[in-house]
Every structure is written in C-alpha cells, then in structure tokens.
Assembly symmetry: C2
Homo-oligomer: 205 residues x 2
C-alpha cells in the first residue's frame, strides 16, 4: 500500500480546496520547513475542513512530493518555452539560464523546496538531481554529435556544472533584492563567456 498517493480534485469546489492546500503547504514548508510543519498546520493555514486534506493527500509527504514534482515540471516547461526558437545549443543554454534565473527570482521558494528534500529523504534529493542530470546529458549529446559541443569532455560532469552555474548564479541574483532583468541579462552574458572560452587567458589558444 502506497501511503503517499494524491488524488486530484474532480469538482470546481474541490479544485478550490486543493489549491488552498497547495498554497498553504508551499508557504509552510518554505517557512518553517517540512519537518516542523504538521498536517494540522496546513489545514489551519489553508482554512479547509479537517478531513479535506485527506481527500486529496495521503500524508504530508504526499503533498511535499506533489509540490516538488510541480516545481520540476514548471522549471522544465519554462526552459522549454524559453528555448523553443533557439537554433544552437549556445543559444539554448543562454535562454535556459535566463529562464531559470527569472523563475527563481520570482519564486525563491524554489531553492527551499528542492534543498529541503535533503531533510525529508536524501533519496528524493539524489533522485531529483540525478534525473535532472540524465535528462541534461540526453539534451546535450546531439550537440556533441553535430559538432557544436566539444567531444573530449564528460557530459555528466558538464551537466552537474551547468546545474551548479544556474543554481549559484541564481543565488547571486536572489541575494540582490534590487536586481532587475538587466542584472539577470548581465550575469547570463558573463556566464556564457565562461562557457564559451573559460576563464584563463594563458591556457586559451
């Protein structure tokens, strides 16, 4: 028996309650953290009847997994939309990086939700990033084959590096409360310089 299942609402009233629970969960997991948040806290914050939570979610883990999954989908959809008209992998990395940073700039809870999995269950954390890396490798490989990306570099390492750059340059922007879209464009440009030619002068030929 799976105790972490979710059941999507079938009525408009149900959708409203479902959304309230999602919103409350995001707020509370983001603020106090998963381990410190009880189902009662969520019910109380969402202002739904006590039994309503269980109509949709088996447990607070079920709600957390739903939120993490939703976030993963959002990030991927945002990246897909942003890169739709790109002709080269260079353009795709650039547009994807900007889209990621703009997303976390609007919703810094994104970091909390993913990194919180370290405390919810390290297996979830590992799966989140290993799945993301696998997907990244598959997206990069055709560009090694068509000659845009060098063929003498390990794509798994490149995938983790690209995830690291997105996440940390994202933090650079999130830390600056006054950051504008121009600032995002700036750090994206600087990141692309590095991806393009590295940072060292004398080693470049």
């Amino acid at each position: 028996m799976n105790k972490h299942e979710i059941r999507l609402p079938k009525t408009k009233v149900g959708q409203k309650s479902f959304k309230k629970i999602i919103k409350a969960g995001k707020l509370l997991y983001g603020k106090a953290g998963y381990n410190s948040t009880s189902i009662n806290d969520i019910i109380s914050k969402a202002k739904v009847a006590a039994g309503t939570f269980y109509i949709y979610f088996d447990s607070k883990l079920a709600l957390y997994l739903y939120l993490l999954d939703e976030y993963g989908h959002n990030i991927r959809r945002t990246a897909t939309e942003a890169t739709r008209n790109c002709l080269t992998r260079y353009e795709m990395e650039k547009a994807g990086l900007k889209a990621f940073i703009m997303y976390v700039k609007e919703d810094p809870l994104a970091y909390k939700l993913v990194w919180e999995s370290l405390f919810v269950d390290p297996v979830i954390f590992k799966e989140y990033y290993t799945n993301f890396a696998s997907s990244y490798i598959n997206h990069l490989r055709p560009y090694v084959e068509n000659g845009e990306i060098r063929d003498d570099i390990d794509l798994e390492t490149v995938s983790y590096i690209l995830m690291g750059i997105s996440n940390f340059v994202g933090l650079q922007i999130v830390f600056n409360e006054k950051a504008t879209e121009n600032d995002v464009d700036f750090v994206v440009e600087e990141s692309m310089k590095l991806l393009n030619e590295g940072i060292f002068k004398k080693h470049r030929t």
Copy 2:
C-alpha cells in the same frame, strides 16, 4: 543582550562534554534538521547533564552557528593547505576543487549544514555565500592583474560560478557511493577543461 553566544571549555573534562555536544548537534541537525531538533534531544544524544549544554551554548541557534562557522573554517583551511604550493591560479582552482570535493565526500553533512540555514534564518544563508563570494573575488583579482585570468569577465559572477561548480560536482561524487579518489580526479580534470576553454567548439578560436 546576545542570546546566541558560546563559551569555550576551559578544562579537559569540559572539552570532552563540549565535543560530545558538538557531535550530537551535528548528527541531529544533519538528520532531522535544525527546526525539528530540541536542546533536550541534543542533551540526550550527547549523554551530558541537562545543565551542561547551557554552560557552553546560550541556545540551539548558538550551537548551529558554531557548527556552521567551524565548517566554514575547515573548508577554507582545507583549501589553503591544498593550494599552498600552487604556482598558478589554474593549479589553485584545480587543487582547491579537489580538496572541496574530497571534504564533502568524507562529510556529506556539510551540504546539509549550510543549506539548512535557509530554514534557520535566510540571512545566515545569504551571509554565508556573500562572504564566501567576496573572499573569492579578492583571491581572484591578483590573477586578473597578473594576466592569468581574463580581464573582460565579471569576478562576482565568476565567484558564484566557481562555488556552483564545486557544490554540484561535489554532489555528482557524493551521489555515487562507490566513488574513489580517481573518480574525484576525473571530474576535477573535466571541470578544469571547461574552466580552461569552455564547452563550445565553434565559438573557440
């Protein structure tokens, strides 16, 4: 009145109790997380008398801040030792990256401790990385001046990128339970290729 002060032990017996508390705190903050861990949990895990905790720490936040500070010092000391005999910034980045990954490979709690600050107090999280970035910028600048690092790239962005690479290539190794020092050397080499020349072929000259 500062409620987050710590007082170091002055006797050998005191040092023993202090170490027990440190060890218990690290274990519990790392497992359940800061918010779910009470001082009683720590006292009980450390097997010290109830009042002993307060001889050294004003609060559980004081203990957390001590652990975070200790970790920050360890990481910097490890990097300093590893890079002591390096003649170029290239060699320093390479040795520093390896030292960081070897450190988190031995002690994956390192990630938890730092990222947990998002839930303890986002200000601590922000300060941890902004301080680290400032220090990184200061260490990079002389190598822009001596011509080893290109002078047409923003050093703040480079600092966040380098932190991102360390953290995520570190995860790549931590996720692989069978990873050896050879595997660490491999991902370090691949990362240095990227820092050296980027990932794109056609944009390289």
